[in-house]
Each structure stands twice: as C-alpha cells, then as structure tokens.
Symmetry: D2
Subunit: 137 residues, 4 copies
Amino acid sequence: MLKRFGVSIPDDLLNKLDRLADKKGYSNRSEVIRDLIRDRFVEKEWELGNKEVVGTVTLVYNHESHELADKLTDLQHHYHKDIISTTHIHLDEHNCLEVLVVRGKATKIKGIADLLISTKGVKHGKLVMTTTGKEIS
Amino acid sequence: MLKRFGVSIPDDLLNKLDRLADKKGYSNRSEVIRDLIRDRFVEKEWELGNKEVVGTVTLVYNHESHELADKLTDLQHHYHKDIISTTHIHLDEHNCLEVLVVRGKATKIKGIADLLISTKGVKHGKLVMTTTGKEIS
Amino acid sequence: MLKRFGVSIPDDLLNKLDRLADKKGYSNRSEVIRDLIRDRFVEKEWELGNKEVVGTVTLVYNHESHELADKLTDLQHHYHKDIISTTHIHLDEHNCLEVLVVRGKATKIKGIADLLISTKGVKHGKLVMTTTGKEIS
Amino acid sequence: MLKRFGVSIPDDLLNKLDRLADKKGYSNRSEVIRDLIRDRFVEKEWELGNKEVVGTVTLVYNHESHELADKLTDLQHHYHKDIISTTHIHLDEHNCLEVLVVRGKATKIKGIADLLISTKGVKHGKLVMTTTGKEIS
C-alpha cells in the first residue's frame, strides 16, 4: 500500500529535482524520491559491513598484459565462494571487459573489488554496491 | 493459428513417444511432435553451413593447467567478432566452467567450437547447435 | 604423469578415428582417446543420479509469446538455489537466447532442464551434461 | 615504456593519497596516479557524447512486480543492438539481479540506462561508465 506525505523544500532545489527527474525519464516526483530513499538504504547496508550485500565489479584490461589475465583468474578462484559469476566480453583482439557478480559481507566484497581493481594493468574498474533486495520494497 | 492433422504410427512407437513425453514433462503429444519438427529444422540450418546460426559452447578446465587459460583466451579474442559473450563460473579453487554464446555461419562456428574443445587440457566440452529463432515459429 | 599403453583396433575403425581427430583439430590419437574416456566418465556421473554435477541449459524463445517469459522466470526463481546464473542474449526484437548454468544432483538438474525445455513456446532447448571437474584429471 | 616525472602536492593531500592507496591495496603511488588519470580519460570519453563507449548497468528488482519483468525485457529487446549481453542472477524466490553490458555512443547508452533504472519497481540501479580500452594504455 502506498502512503502519502508532504515535503517542504526550497524552490531552487525543487527545480533541480524536477530537471533531474525529467532528464532521467522519471514520470513523477514520488518515483525520484523513492529511489533516493532506496539508494540511501543500500548505502547503509554496505556501511554496516557485516550484512550480506550483492555487488558487481566491472573491469577493463588487455588480456595480453604480462601475466595479468592469470593473476585476475587466480584471484577470482581464491574467492570463488563469493563470486557468483563472471561475464567476459571480448571487446577486440586485445581488450576484455569482465563483470563479476559478488555476494557476501560488505567489507569482504569491498576488499575483493579493491584487490581486482588495483591489480597492475587493469585499465578501468568500478564496484557497484547494490542489494539483495530483501529489505527494500 | 494452429492447424490440426492426423498421424498414423505403430502402437509400440506411440507407447515410446508417450513415455518420453511423460518423462520430459510435456502436457500433450502435439507439443512433443512440434519440438521434434523444430529440432529437425535447427539441424538443417546447421547442415547448410552458410546460414547464420547461434550456438553455445560449454567448457570445463583447470585454470592452473600449463598455459591453458591463456591459450583459450587468445583463441577467443581471435574470434571476438563471432563470440558474443563468455560466462565464467569459478567451480572451485581449480576448476572453471565457461559457456560461450557464438553467432555466425554454421561451418565457422563449428570450427571455433572444435578448436576450443580439442585444446589440450580441456576436461570436457560440448557445442549446442541452436537457432536465431527467425525461421522457427 | 602420463602412462602409455597399446590399443588394438580394426584398421577401418582406426581410419575413422583418424579422420575424426583430423577434422576436430586434435594433434594426436592419445588426445582423442583421452577425451573419449573423459566423456564416458562425465556420462557416468550423470547416470548415478545423486552425484553433484554441473550443466548448461540453452533455450531459444520469443519473449512476446503469451506469458512465456514470465513462466520461465518463475520456474527459474523456484529453482534459484540450483541455477547459478542465466545469460540472456537479445537476438533480435523478438527472439531471446538464454544459457543457464545449473549445479546439483543429476536427477534434479535433468528435471529442471526438462521442465524448461518442454515449456510451451520454447523454440529450441538443449541440456549439456558436464562435470564439476573434481574427479577428472 | 614507462616515463618518470615529479609531482609537488601539499603534505596533507599526500597523506590522504597514501592512506587511500594503502586501503585500496595499491603497491605504490604511481599506480594510484595512473588510475586517477585513466579514470579522468574514461569520463572524458563519456562527456564527448558521440564516442563509442562501453558500460554495465546493474539492476535489482522483484520479478513478481506487476508487469515489471515484461517491461524490462521489452525495453532491452528494443535496444538489442546496443545491449551485448544480460546476466541474470536469481537472488531468491522474488529478487533478481541483472547486469547488462552495453556498447555504443555515450549519449545513447546513458539514455538506455536511465530508462531501465527509472522503470517503476526497480529497487536499485547503477550505470558504470567504462571504456572500450582502445585509447587507454
């Protein structure tokens, strides 16, 4: 069931919010507000550290870099219980994109992401901290 | 629109068909017959050789095998235009499962699958020949 | 360590084996023989029924078919503990290819595959029975 | 070939940088600096709008939400030429995680991501803007 409540905010902030909602394709303000609230809860799950969270790690690298592919595979196998799956896209002859889905305690997942992203030769890497969805409706 | 037609077959063959349908969870004979016909068409697409087909290649291997992971990655990048994506599951500390989705002319796709599956050290490999779905309704 | 032993077979069978090996890109007979033996072991793991196996299920279907996508998603969520991941490729506006990686007892995995493949509207489906790799070297 | 140059920065900023590097598992300052520079270039590729970029979109949602799964599938098929693959993880009976790999012009990719993330019922969504790796060494 949806409940309704009023919100008071400065008009310039409201303008900004409307422009954002419009640009992002939201159909009304409630939708944007709900997403902001959900976002904050997802962050909280990660801050607590010992809650079960889910994340995705995106990596771009050259598979011909000295021993890089091996190092990344070894690291991933070491944490095989936390890594659900890895999708590998062969971008061209040299470049790879990998997206890992990882699940576990926030602090551990962050640690695995940091290890992978900071491996020498990785061109770009990002962790998306998301949620198992259990506590967000 | 569905059309209906009669089929005459020996009773023991019908018994076998019914047992198969039952075991596989089909709800009626028409469903089984339709699937058999579709299967035959998929095979035909592959036999023609120069039609565009889609397939999946499943590989199981030990990523610690001497240079095996490197060789498989190099092969895959060489054919990066035919391989849409590779999903990698870290089965345990040593063993990997990879499923590739490949799309292209049947003869080329078969060739890529054979190359990957016959690579020394691959424990098990299978090609599923399937269809883009365009000509099957 | 590799061991060596002799094999006696009729010459026409040997010819066939050599043609197969050649066509499939194997570099020598031992490689082919080893793969045949591994294949047989993988089949055995599946026959036993209660051993832990791994498989991939490939499905092609039209996502606009009446309630088909929903039915497949519901089925998959019901068995979410056995299905590790699903890769979905949008083949065109209408057709989808999905590859599931499934892990569990052979009889259960076969049952899940049969359910998915026999769902009305699935154009083509195949189960690849493979192995966790633990007992194959 | 690696080149070397000196950098002057306030000592408190250097301290912060060192703490960050340490926390993230980097082995030295050059590694961190290189990654910051690469990050900036990736952002630039996206700002230009008409360059070819690669991204991943992570979505968490309840597949039982009214028509949500259908809407997301329809949207994805509409953009099937830009979406390379979608990995779907069945988190539990109700919740799904999807990671899409998308490739195309930055403005279009951002638009697709916004559409998906702002769809009513999506619990959490994030776009990772990354790179084809071609112009980053």
